[in-house]
């Protein structure tokens, strides 16, 4: 077993609520590891602690053997972790191309460069156009981001997450709010991506999860109650009781 990400006994409370309760989990290099669980199980809080938006009360997060907890969010990105957001988090005033170009720029080291016009910079433009082509948004590159549909925003999130060429992608409900056809499109896209990246996927869409995931962990009240292959999870009585059975 080669664990890329090793989460050890994570605890995070908000007042009386335990969003993470002795949460342990390991993500192996190359796998798609899905996290499922009922609303309020602490899935997004887990991702925030991984990406650095929130600090755990206790616990360690080892990424390639290095503890991430003391590191600020921007430093974690440089180690090779990218995140997409459940609620679309784009720069609405900027064009689609600018949004993705900024992500490409982030990978190319510091941006204390004051002279050359960034929009004329071929390495940024071509890098960003290549990513937009991969997610099928090439034709909309010049439009203001706010002019795009929700489904297109979700695809932009993926393009931005890919820009960092991060080893580990944290995807927070990429299917959220997508219609049938859009979901299918997203599943196809994620399939293409998974060959090159390790993915930690938080998702409510069970069809998508069972199609994509190599392993699934079930989170209930901040605690992992089961981890296994899709078949194992389907057959697990505790999971059915806690989650799947309720549907």
């Amino acid at each position: 077993m080669s664990a890329l990400l090793e989460i050890q006994s994570l605890n995070k409370g908000f007042g009386g609520i335990k969003a993470s309760d002795d949460l342990s989990l390991s993500v192996e290099a190359g796998e798609v590891h899905a996290i499922i669980g009922p609303n309020g199980a602490g899935k997004t809080t887990l991702l925030s602690q991984l990406s650095g938006g929130q600090k755990p009360d206790i616990g360690r997060i080892l990424f390639k053997g290095r503890d991430l907890v003391p590191l600020p969010a921007h430093a974690r990105a440089h180690l090779g972790i990218a995140r997409s957001f459940q609620i679309t988090s784009l720069i609405m005033d900027m064009s689609v191309l600018d949004n993705v170009a900024l992500a490409v720029q982030a990978r190319q080291g510091h941006s204390f460069r004051f002279l050359r016009a960034a929009r004329q910079d071929a390495s940024l433009r071509e890098g960003a156009m290549g990513l937009l082509r991969r997610v099928g948004l090439e034709a909309k590159a010049q439009l203001p981001t706010r002019a795009l549909s929700h489904g297109e925003h979700r695809h932009m999130e993926i393009a931005i997450a890919l820009a960092g060429q991060a080893e580990l992608l944290l995807l927070d409900e990429p299917m959220a709010g997508l219609g049938g056809e859009e979901s299918a499109h997203m599943v196809t896209l994620l399939r293409q991506i998974k060959s090159r990246h390790t993915i930690l996927l938080v998702e409510h869409d069970m069809d998508a999860v069972f199609q994509l995931a190599d392993r699934i962990s079930v989170l209930v009240y901040g605690h992992v109650i089961a981890t296994g292959t899709p078949d194992e999870i389907r057959a697990n009585a505790a999971v059915q009781h806690a989650y799947l059975g309720e549907e």
């Binding site: 921007h74 957001f85 784009l90 720069i91 204390f112 931005i160």
Partner: protein
């Protein structure tokens, strides 16, 4: 060229030509007005870098303007009256260098603190730092306290005689053009894209790996230093400086110029300063109650014209 480029070039050409024409036709007063608005436009352009492009609502920008002016006034004072020999000079390079260095340092120290806060707290703390400088100057008897300080001798620059109103205007105008180009270059650079991205979505930028705090701090220092330069020019123009010029209300006026003209545009702050100064002057002649119609007009523009005067010129569309 786009329509906006034409408008920008036209406005800047008018600003270059009209004031000297007024001067030569015996209306020296209008040249003075133009010099004042040009200098304030430099300050507004510098504020636009952090306010318009960076989304940082600094309510203490006038402190930099005042510090820049005192960096001219204090050396000139010692040069004439003695004391503090190391500081006593009328050399323009030294004074302007001092103005830029002091305001950059001020912006660095205060920015390092202010930029750790957000929203209303940021506004309050920038204002608090500016008021600290205000009261510091008020408390120094040597430099006139709140009575202010007369600058008896203007900065001496080779090839320039700043006592000549036309040359002073020329210096201010060239400075404005250079500052506009500098800010425009910064804004379009990689650095500028990060600054604007952080205005639009800070969380996203941090997640991408940008240390947003550091980028903002650098912008804050650049902005402060440019405003310090404007302050040095303002001191040379008014030849009388007082703590009043760094009062928080002055910071508010600078903010208003930026928003009135159109934040996050190249020409906006210049249009805003021009409209502000010209309206203030002419309404003031019509009635002593000029603040009322002036205020109503400003409210009208902010409420009904998206993007300020630039928005109006652009035809209301973004």
């Amino acid at each position: 060229m786009t329509r906006m480029t034409w408008i920008t070039l036209t406005v800047m050409a008018l600003l270059a030509v009209l004031p000297p024409v007024f001067f030569w036709t015996g209306n020296a007063f209008y040249l003075d007005l133009a010099t004042r608005l040009t200098i304030l436009a430099i300050a507004a352009v510098s504020l636009n870098l952090i306010l318009g492009y960076g989304g940082l609502v600094s309510f203490g920008h006038a402190a930099c303007l005042g510090l820049g002016a005192y960096a001219v006034g204090i050396p000139a004072h010692h040069w004439l009256y003695g004391g503090m020999d190391a500081l006593a000079t009328t050399n323009g390079f030294v004074q302007i260098g001092l103005a830029v260095a002091i305001t950059a340092l001020f912006a660095l120290v205060t920015g390092a603190v202010c930029l750790r806060t957000r929203g209303v707290y940021f506004i309050m703390i920038t204002m608090a730092f500016a008021q600290m400088v205000y009261y510091l100057i008020v408390s120094i008897e040597e430099y006139g306290g709140d009575d202010g300080l007369v600058i008896d001798t203007r900065s001496e620059l080779p090839g320039f005689n700043l006592d000549d109103p036309l040359q002073l205007f020329a210096l201010a105008y060239v400075s404005l053009v250079v500052v506009m180009l500098v800010v425009r270059t910064i804004v379009n650079s990689r650095f500028g894209m990060v600054l604007q991205g952080a205005k639009g979505n800070e969380e996203r930028m941090v997640t991408l790996g940008f240390n947003v705090y550091l980028y903002r701090l650098v912008a804050y220092v650049i902005s402060g230093a440019i405003c310090g330069y404007a302050g040095a020019l303002l001191g040379n123009f008014t030849t009388f400086i007082s703590p009043e010029m760094m009062d928080w209300a002055r910071s508010g006026e600078l903010m208003f110029m930026v928003i009135l003209g159109g934040a996050a545009t190249t020409l906006g702050p210049v249009l805003g300063s021009a409209a502000f100064i010209v309206l203030e002057e002419f309404l003031g002649r019509l009635t002593i109650y000029w603040h009322l119609p002036f205020g109503l007009m400003l409210i009208g523009v902010v409420l009904f014209v998206r993007g300020g005067l630039m928005g109006l010129l652009r035809g209301g569309k973004e």
